[in-house]
Symmetry: D2
Subunit: 278 residues, 4 copies
Amino acid sequence: MKLRVNCNLEYEVSAETTLILNIEAQRNAGQNVVSEEFSAAGNLATETHVVPETGNRYRRMVLPVGAHRLDYRAEIETAPFIGDPGRIAQMPVAELPFEVVAHLSPSRYCQSDKLGRFAWRTFDGIADGHEKVTAICNWIFENVDYLEGSSDASTSAYDTFTLRAGVCRDFAHLGITFARALGIPARFVSAYALDLQPQDFHAVFEAYLGDRWYLFDATRLCPIDGIVRIGVGRDAADTAFASYFGQLNGPPKLISVERIDGPQPAEWTTGAVSISAD
Amino acid sequence: MKLRVNCNLEYEVSAETTLILNIEAQRNAGQNVVSEEFSAAGNLATETHVVPETGNRYRRMVLPVGAHRLDYRAEIETAPFIGDPGRIAQMPVAELPFEVVAHLSPSRYCQSDKLGRFAWRTFDGIADGHEKVTAICNWIFENVDYLEGSSDASTSAYDTFTLRAGVCRDFAHLGITFARALGIPARFVSAYALDLQPQDFHAVFEAYLGDRWYLFDATRLCPIDGIVRIGVGRDAADTAFASYFGQLNGPPKLISVERIDGPQPAEWTTGAVSISAD
Amino acid sequence: MKLRVNCNLEYEVSAETTLILNIEAQRNAGQNVVSEEFSAAGNLATETHVVPETGNRYRRMVLPVGAHRLDYRAEIETAPFIGDPGRIAQMPVAELPFEVVAHLSPSRYCQSDKLGRFAWRTFDGIADGHEKVTAICNWIFENVDYLEGSSDASTSAYDTFTLRAGVCRDFAHLGITFARALGIPARFVSAYALDLQPQDFHAVFEAYLGDRWYLFDATRLCPIDGIVRIGVGRDAADTAFASYFGQLNGPPKLISVERIDGPQPAEWTTGAVSISAD
Amino acid sequence: MKLRVNCNLEYEVSAETTLILNIEAQRNAGQNVVSEEFSAAGNLATETHVVPETGNRYRRMVLPVGAHRLDYRAEIETAPFIGDPGRIAQMPVAELPFEVVAHLSPSRYCQSDKLGRFAWRTFDGIADGHEKVTAICNWIFENVDYLEGSSDASTSAYDTFTLRAGVCRDFAHLGITFARALGIPARFVSAYALDLQPQDFHAVFEAYLGDRWYLFDATRLCPIDGIVRIGVGRDAADTAFASYFGQLNGPPKLISVERIDGPQPAEWTTGAVSISAD
């Protein structure tokens, strides 16, 4: 699928501020960045870094006092690997790549150590592999209300599990938490997403099954093959689209994602989708 | 300093168990492993992995049902970098190496997003750089009781801050949390430690100051230059000495650490100590 | 049912301690105390108080340094009101006695404000009145493991809901929490209980339905008509069997409850049981 | 002091709603209600109840769908007991009235069981009796930011202690928590308050010292003898000014409190103030 992505950020800076953005699309075998352009009004100098282990792309800059406008636009062609959900098995820990094992540990927003008993009671018997993570997503969709304003930056999976309401980031955190509790490595993915209403950044998760990372989205808000990966990490603490150290304000970010090689809205894929190169 | 380390683990396994150990000393410029030996009774096959970014050494094995005994012994020569505490400054975020920035984020046991207001009120004015982290350690030592049994595997810095009691791991988590809240990258270090009573694994933390990671130990239980690094990570979730997937039991681990090139107990260093190569 | 109750407490006091006991059986229309005796070795002076609103009986004493032995024995005849579960309806808040309304509020261990969304999703449609609270008890029994040692004095319903393990006090807290979240007044009951294994104090809860308080026990550990009420309150914070202010230690309390007018174990009542006079 | 109080509430009800108000001033020896009037537009029937143990006054009504306007106006003359702070001692638990002892227990928003270690470390040595509770208030004032919007209905003292920000209700909860942890009975007071900016309901707390309940206000927002008590209870869970069961919305309540027998702003009393009759 070929997608055009736009992201516009505006800031009013009241004291010199260091800003680190993670809004540029990953480049990997599953996701080709055909063209892209980052621009900052006023010829602001920026410094970039690609994390070798994840492909996350960071851009750091020092914003002087005043108004700033930052734009990212890109054309991305995704070439997802599509698997057969019924044949993708969970790997025993003894056979997982060592790099992947760390994604079994609890993290800031995903206290898999606390929700293990529930996860085992609920999901242990009902399926295996890709189907088990799909069962997790179904459970979340059926038991948690998607409700704007019901959570904030400190809300974790532990809270969402009891409060039963959240937004995309909370849905992803809860999915990650259950997967890890069941011995399935899982990580957070910040993304651009086709057909998301209203248009915004999106959050989904990946679980490591068979020999790769598969995408999952418990919100059912957009087609899973319309996802463009920006950042991957343990949870939202690792994958903020913008981190700043200073003082700034701004209007809401403007995001647009459109398909440029086929119909919108997209038809929804029913297979297992992976756009991770690792 | 030259140290001899022994670690003996015994397990009674009641169902086949995958065990991942992280008990072997890191090898880096600040810490030379002169000799070492890992042995598992019964010629058990083990698989090893060194994480490129951290130097953490993992050993994975599948334990069949029955009794198992695992031993690690090593001679390590530490060559710490000793700095002048008064001259080691905090780096602005704009100048931090990108790899280090991730250690500003909150993690499972270190909710720096929740304790920021306290940290700023308490530590903002009183010092800078190495001295600020020392002030954090002093505050912890003076305000938190070291009390065996007062915490468990789910205790986080948020709990320790209110309950005001904990063990070495809790002291490290709280130090990391305050440092991150103040914009100082910090990470957890699992360690062998000289003169620790009773002998056991130890937990301390590192803060990134100037151009390297410096060791800090808010417990004041052992000399900071008697630390041998085993694992580094976001917090204890990343640095368990043993993770298992299966069913096992065992008597307490036996640890011994002794100095073989000088007097015990050691004289305590008063400078800033770094044994990190990065 | 006629029951003989024994309770023996021993304390080793290391600094003068004020002790407040709440171990004596309530006297009310549903529960007649035929005979009873409280004795404290050494002619210790004690002061008693009956709370008018609840019938809770407190006994306060100052224990000097040394060894102490306190005994309570009683014969109690319960005359429970037995209702027809299918005909006991939930009262609208507009018709509840004002005294009862306070039992809709959240309390220390029963955060009904946080578990409301789950309670409505799960229990709203499935039954009404006494049957709804029975459905709550069934859900708890089926979804929470009864596990000695899995909780402590700070464990609340919020924790039990996520951790999915607890003891009788946790089961009662969770039942109270769900009931309140659904608009049903509920309170904690500390009790002597027939056929409880091992013999100990017990904790159950009461919900206000129709025109009285009905007993519920989500643990299914003993017959509901073998309950002798000691204290009622918002939750365990109100109904400790012993509160002390000083320093004391002691071996485990010894409790025995036996039926003296019929067979043990008792046959289990299937109706709705109330032993509350209010 | 003679005060005129106005309280105006407006509601838009979208489904029949039971409303319970607790907005009418207590009548007791310390606080004489000279005149008062409650009115509900449309001749709505209301039912009232005075709780014997506390003097809290509740008014219950069923609001049909539509717009509603409720008004309460009163003239109150306070006759506070003014003590000498240096001579008001903490009572040993052995001598407290039994009715008061319950106010040593933790409650929904005041987890005194969790903050005990801190309270003892911080306040144990520094003063006694009324002065100790004043020291608690000073600590709160100096260490917690008064910040509108920093807390919500689920925020408890445990949260406020770590987050270090809150509003009047949070300040009261934290004061109650520390007092209870130190063995001083304490309770929540909802109130009308003179000179509060902006005018609104207020929350303060009372501690039982000597032989009565004394008022404390850690916010320093208004003179302590300008307080008119509405409700007392364990914490805010017991003393909501309005509880509803149904669906309603409304603009912000309008409150006014003015002194009608002397200057505004009032001079601040420096003694210990009690307006409780018990």
